[in-house]
C-alpha cells in the first residue's frame, strides 16, 4: 500500500470528490494560486481552475456564508479556514446559519458543507491563533465534528464529510500534515460515529483524537516499556456523533479512563466523556475519569511555557499511572 503524508491524503480526498461531483468546490484564503497556506490544496487550481478552487479575501464571515448559501441550492462547498482560530470571526455563520437553516425551514434545505482547516496550539502563535475548537463546535446540535489522527482516517473521513448532507467541522492539525501512513489506492470511506482502537490494551482506556492520539500512543509505548503497563488507546474519530458505546465497552474492560485533549479543560470534550461515563457505567469505573487537557490559560508564545501548557507524553503517562493507582 502506498505511504503518503496526511496532507496528501486530504488533497486526494478533495480531488477525488471534485472529480466525482461537479457541485463540489473549494474556497478559502490562499487555497488557489498560493497552493494553500499549508499546501493541502497543492496543484488543485491547476487541476480544477479558478471557479472550483477559489481564493477568497480575508472575509471569513463572508465566504463561510457564501458556502452556506451555495449549499442551500445543492452545491457542496469545502470551506478552508487557514486556521479555525479565524472561524471565530465567522462564528455566527458557523453556529447559527450552518446548523440551523435546515431546522428553521422545517427540513426544506439541507446544508452539505465542509469547513476544514487547522485547529490546535500550533507553533508558538500565541493566545488568539492557538485555538482548539473541538468543544466550541461539538457543543452545537446541527453540526458534525470530525478529527482524523492518521492519513488513512483523514482521507476516508474527509470523503465521507464531503458526501454528507449536513454541515461538517473537519479539524486538522499543523503538526500532523507531514505524518506519513498507508493509504490504499482503491476507493474507501469511513463512517461517522465509529471509534477506532488505535492500540489494544487491558490496563487503562485512553480516549484521544487528532494530534493527542499520537501523544497518547507515545505515552502508551513508554508505559509499556518502562512499567509493562498495557494501555488501550481509543480514537473516537468523530466528536459529534460520539461513539460512546465503544468508549464504554473499553472502559468496562479496563476499569479506568483518561481523556487527552489540547483545548481548554473547562466544559471541554473530556468533561463530556467523563459525564457520560459516570452516568452510564458508574459502577464499572475503578477510579474517577481523568481529564488531561491544556492548562486553563491563554496559549503563551514562549516555547517552554507553551510546552508546559500543552499536554505532552510525560504528563499523559503520569496521569495514566495516577489514574490506575500505579505505584513505583
Amino acid at each position: 500500500m502506498p505511504v503518503i503524508q496526511l496532507r496528501e491524503a486530504l488533497n486526494q480526498a478533495m480531488c477525488e470528490e471534485m472529480q466525482r461531483d461537479p457541485d463540489v468546490f473549494l474556497i478559502g484564503e490562499e487555497v488557489a494560486e498560493y497552493d494553500g497556506a499549508y499546501k493541502v490544496s497543492q496543484g488543485m487550481l491547476a487541476k480544477f481552475g479558478p471557479m472550483r478552487v477559489v481564493d477568497a479575501p480575508i472575509s471569513e464571515c463572508g465566504f463561510a456564508g457564501l458556502g452556506i448559501g451555495a449549499a442551500m441550492v445543492g452545491m457542496r462547498p469545502i470551506v478552508e479556514f487557514m486556521t479555525f482560530s479565524f472561524s471565530l470571526v465567522a462564528f455566527d455563520q458557523m453556529v447559527n446559519n450552518a446548523p440551523k437553516v435546515r431546522h428553521m425551514s422545517g427540513g426544506q434545505f439541507k446544508i452539505p458543507i465542509v469547513f476544514r482547516g487547522i485547529s490546535g496550539p500550533g507553533q508558538q502563535l500565541a493566545a488568539t491563533h492557538s485555538w482548539t475548537v473541538d468543544a466550541l463546535y461539538t457543543h452545537v446540535p446541527g453540526l458534525k465534528v470530525v478529527i482524523p489522527s492518521t492519513p488513512y482516517d483523514a482521507k476516508g473521513l474527509l470523503k465521507t464529510a464531503i458526501r454528507d448532507d449536513d454541515p461538517v467541522i473537519f479539524l486538522e492539525n499543523e503538526a500532523m500534515y507531514g505524518v506519513r501512513g498507508e493509504v490504499p489506492e482503491e476507493e474507501y470511506t469511513i463512517p461517522f460515529g465509529k471509534a477506532d482502537i488505535k492500540r489494544e490494551g487491558t490496563d487503562c482506556t485512553v480516549v484521544a483524537w487528532g494530534h493527542t492520539c499520537q501523544t497518547a500512543l507515545a505515552a502508551a509505548e513508554k508505559l509499556q516499556q518502562e512499567h509493562g503497563i498495557n494501555v488501550e488507546v481509543l480514537d473516537p474519530r468523530t466528536l459529534r456523533p460520539l461513539d460512546m458505546d465503544s468508549i464504554i465497552a473499553s472502559v468496562r474492560k479496563t476499569g479506568y479512563c483518561v481523556t487527552v485533549e489540547e483545548g481548554y479543560p473547562t466544559c471541554g470534550i473530556g468533561s463530556e466523556i467523563a459525564y457520560q461515563l459516570q452516568e452510564k457505567c458508574f459502577d464499572d469505573l475503578d477510579n474517577s475519569v481523568t481529564r488531561v487537557a491544556a492548562l486553563d490559560v491563554p496559549m503563551p508564545y514562549s516555547k517552554p511555557l507553551l510546552n508546559h501548557v500543552v499536554p505532552g507524553v510525560d504528563r499523559v503517562a503520569e496521569e495514566i499511572k495516577k489514574t490506575i493507582y500505579f505505584q513505583g
Partner: protein
Amino acid sequence: MLYGCPGLKPLYMGENVKTLVEAAQKIEPSTAQMMDWYRQMVLIRQFELRSAQSYQQQKIGGFCHLYVGQEAVAVGSLAAVRPSDYVITAYRDHGHAIARGMDMHPLFAELYGKKTGCSHGKGGSMHFFDASKNFFGGHAIVAAHIPLAVGLGWAVKYRKEDRVVLCYFGDGAMNQGSFHEALNLAGLFKLPIIFLVEDNGYGMGTHVHRASAVTDLKLRTGDAYGIPGKDVDGMDCLAMYRMTLSAAEYCRKGNGSIFLQVKTYRYRGHSMSDPQKYRTREEVAQFQEHDPIGRLEKVLRDAGVLDDQKIQAVNDEVHKLVEEAHLRADADPYPELDDVWTDIYSNPFDPYKL
C-alpha cells in the same frame, strides 16, 4: 472572468446604469398586472392586521414584525423577477412570502406554531421558507443572510444559469460587518445580485442618521464595492416594479450586482412590543398620505379599471381568504413532541433517528 479588473474604469461609473434608469421609465405594465399587485398589497395588509390580532390573542409567540406600509416594496419588486430567481430576506418576511406566492394557510400555521406551518412550526414569524418557490427565508440575525445571498449568486454564476438573486435587508443591517464582506465579495466576483435595502428610516427605535455615518445609503456601495446604487420610491409599486425589472436585466447581462435604496416606511412598531416613543403620530400620518395601496388605487381609478365597488369586492374576497386561512391554521394540530428531534440532520444519528 472571475475577478474585477484593476485599472479599468469601475463599472458603476459606466453607461450601464444611466441606460438602466432610462430603460426603467419606459416599462409599461398592463392594468391587469397592476390590478394583481393591488390585490396582493391588500392581501398582505389584511394578513398583517389579522396577525396583529392573533398576536394580541397570544396565538403568536416570539417577535412578530409587521410589514404594513411597506407592501409596495415586496409586491413591486417580486413582480419584476421570475419564479426561477432566488429570493431571500430578513425577519420582516410576511410580505415577501405572500408576494412570492406562498399560501396564507401555511404562513398562519407557522405563526401559530403548528405542524402544518411552512417550517413545521420550527421557525415562526421570522423564518418563513419555501424551497418550491425559491424563497430562501426569513432570517432573524440582522444581515447574517446577506452572505447567504452571495452564495446563491455564486451558485448561479458557477452553474452558468440565467437567474438573479434578490436580497432584501433593512437600513440598520447595513452597519453589520457581514453586509460589508458580502458586498465586497459580490462586487469582486461580479455576482448577479440585487441588493435591496428597505430604508424605512429606522432600525428599531434608531433613526438612520443616528446609526449610519452616511445617511444617503445609495452612496455607500459605489466607491466602496463597485456596486452602483440607485434610489426608488418604495411607496410606489409601479416605480418598484420598473426599477427592479431593469436592475434584474442589468444583472442578467452579466454586469454584476446592483444596489437599490428603497425609501419606505413602516406604519406599525418595529415589532408588536414597541411603544414607538421615537416618532410622532404626525410623522406616521405624513407617510400614510402616500400609502402604497392608496397610490396604486388612484392610478387604477384613473385608468378606469377600479371603482369603489371593485375595491369593496377585492377587500371582501381577500378578507374571506384571510379568515379561512387563519381559522384553518388555528384548528391545525401542534407538532408531536418527538418532532423536536427532526429537521436537524439530513443523515441523522441517535438520538436524531426516529
